[in-house]
């Protein structure tokens, strides 16, 4: 890995920020207001040909009151031929300013490269964050990406994945937990440009109060892309009458020997399941949380590291219980 950043241990970060998700063997980079801590330069990471990176690279993006103005920046991750790595990309807001962030992430996977990427979004209610993720996969490259939108005023993810080489594989999933007047948008475009590629998307949302979620997913199969397999699902769980979820699944298929599907549902908590749990002595409130966790589980289960999955499950549960209890003495201001 080549790096143009200064490694910063957690205690150097203002406000005494401590990441709740530090995995043993992970390396942390802080991106402060769009620039790498210390240099202020954009992040440009390259995993060298054949490099199998054991440690997880965690990039912690934070907004601070030093730069309350709108910012936009770009980061790039290149996985050279045959390399393999794990990334965690987090975003936080450290002050109560109404931050507006435009971020562009480019992920280039060369032939045979593989990566696990977890994007964790946890910002406060006044934050607007638009993330544009541009993914390219060469022959035999494989990407497993999970986007966990825990909290944020208006979070928008626009993802384009282009499968450029045969046998490329890409699994992108998302879980968004939205309440109050929060808005979350996920727009996906998966382009199957060559034959024999495989893609899957699973997006699930839990919405309460007046929350709003929009999902649009396009699978585009080019004329030559025979033997494509592409599947897409989006499911929303609405906990209140005033929450709104929109799903716009789209297939554009120009090849004739493909397997593609899409499905979208918006539903509410299942009364039969709730009654069943209550009849065993599980109080209604707890039964609702169990059902929401069960709903979220399919996405969390896509996180390949068991340890990271467990931590994300805990975070999800605390969020669903409304228990971000350390908020009063935390500088993240995420709720």
């Amino acid at each position: 890995m080549t790096e143009n950043y200064i490694y910063a241990p957690a205690h150097n970060i203002e406000g005494g920020f401590r990441c709740k998700v530090p995995l043993p063997g992970s390396r942390q980079i802080f991106m402060i207001d769009g620039g790498v801590q210390g240099t202020g330069r954009p992040l440009d990471i390259r995993f060298r040909k054949g490099e199998i990176s054991e440690e997880t690279l965690q990039v912690i993006g934070i907004r601070t009151e030093k730069h309350p103005e709108d910012i936009s920046f770009a980061s790039s991750y290149r996985f050279e031929e045959g390399s393999s790595a794990k990334l965690i990309l987090c975003s936080h807001t450290f002050a109560e300013n109404p931050f507006h962030t435009d971020e562009k992430i480019s992920i280039t996977m060369e032939a045979g490269a593989s990566a696990d990427v977890l994007i964790m979004q946890n910002e406060h209610n006044k934050a607007t964050h638009n993330t544009c993720i541009d993914i390219h996969l060469a022959e035999g490259a494989s990407l497993n990406a999970v986007i966990l939108t825990i909290h944020g005023g208006a979070i928008s993810n626009g993802i384009t994945a282009s499968l450029d080489g045969r046998h490329a594989f890409c699994d992108i999933s998302g879980l968004y937990l939205v309440d109050g007047t929060q808005k979350v948008t996920n727009s996906l475009k998966v382009e199957h440009r060559v034959p024999e590629c495989h893609s899957r998307e699973l997006f699930k949302g839990i919405l309460d109060n007046n929350a709003y979620a929009y999902f649009s997913g396009l699978i585009h199969v080019f004329p030559d892309a025979q033997k494509t397999e592409a599947y897409q699902e989006c499911h929303n769980l609405l906990l209140s009458r005033d929450a709104r979820a929109f799903a716009q699944p789209q297939l554009e298929i120009y090849a004739d020997d493909v397997k593609c599907s899409h499905g979208a549902t918006n539903g509410r908590l299942n009364e039969d399941e709730l009654f069943y749990m209550r009849s065993r002595g599980i109080p209604l409130k707890e039964a609702k949380v169990l059902q929401q966790l069960a709903f979220a589980y399919a996405v969390l289960d896509k996180i390949s590291s068991a340890e990271l999955k467990e931590r994300m499950a805990v975070l999800t549960e605390r969020r669903l219980r409304g228990e971000f209890s350390d908020c009063n003495n935390c500088c993240r201001n995420c709720c």
Partner: protein, 253 residues
Amino acid sequence: MTENKILLNIKDLHASVGDKEILRGIDLTIREGETHAIMGPNGSGKSTLSAVLAGRDNYTVTSGEVTFNGHNLLELTPEERSFEGLFLSFQYPIEIPGVTNVNFMRTAVNEHRKHKGLEPLNAADFLKLMRSKMEIVEMNPSFSSRGVNVGFSGGEKKRNEIFQMAMLEPRLAILDETDSGLDVDALRIVATGVNKLKRPDNAAIVITHYQRLLDYIVPDVVHVLYKGRIIRTAGKELAREIEERGYDWIING
């Protein structure tokens, strides 16, 4: 002979779905140590009675009283009824994908303990308890890590119901057509499980269409429910007579 303590007392219970009256005046008294069978043709109100007792809210109780273990049952939420010792074995157990059996039961058992003012069980003690109760219904331990009833066969679902009953040790178990969808072996296992859980201070209501289950779980009293009323109450021989002659002679009699 001194009579045992009354556990459940139903007086003139009427219940409806929408404007359709399904229970039209049920009277039933169940004492500790007793097993009652409720039989009756399809649509007579058997499952409605069990759902109303368990607190399902799509039924409206229009009049009548139900006292359970000294409480006005109809005022309690479904979870409070469970805490007081009521258990319904569902005719169609619900699948809960994503919630494992072990998490489901640990939550339930610890909520029961919380209600009694006890500390939650630690993981080791809980697993020990769970294993011993699974043996009662000859359930494979691998079921504990699977989603509640997800992908279970009909027989496995019913075993899971009786396993849950064993975990919660209810005062009154209502078995709603526990025999439906069971082959002979599963029926024997489930019925044996129920018998093992019998104690002098608890009771059971067995809702069934068939004599077969009652060969294993022998009732003290058999009731025939028809059009929302109990039209005949007798000893266990009534079940055999119904098996031979059907219901017409009782309905028309």
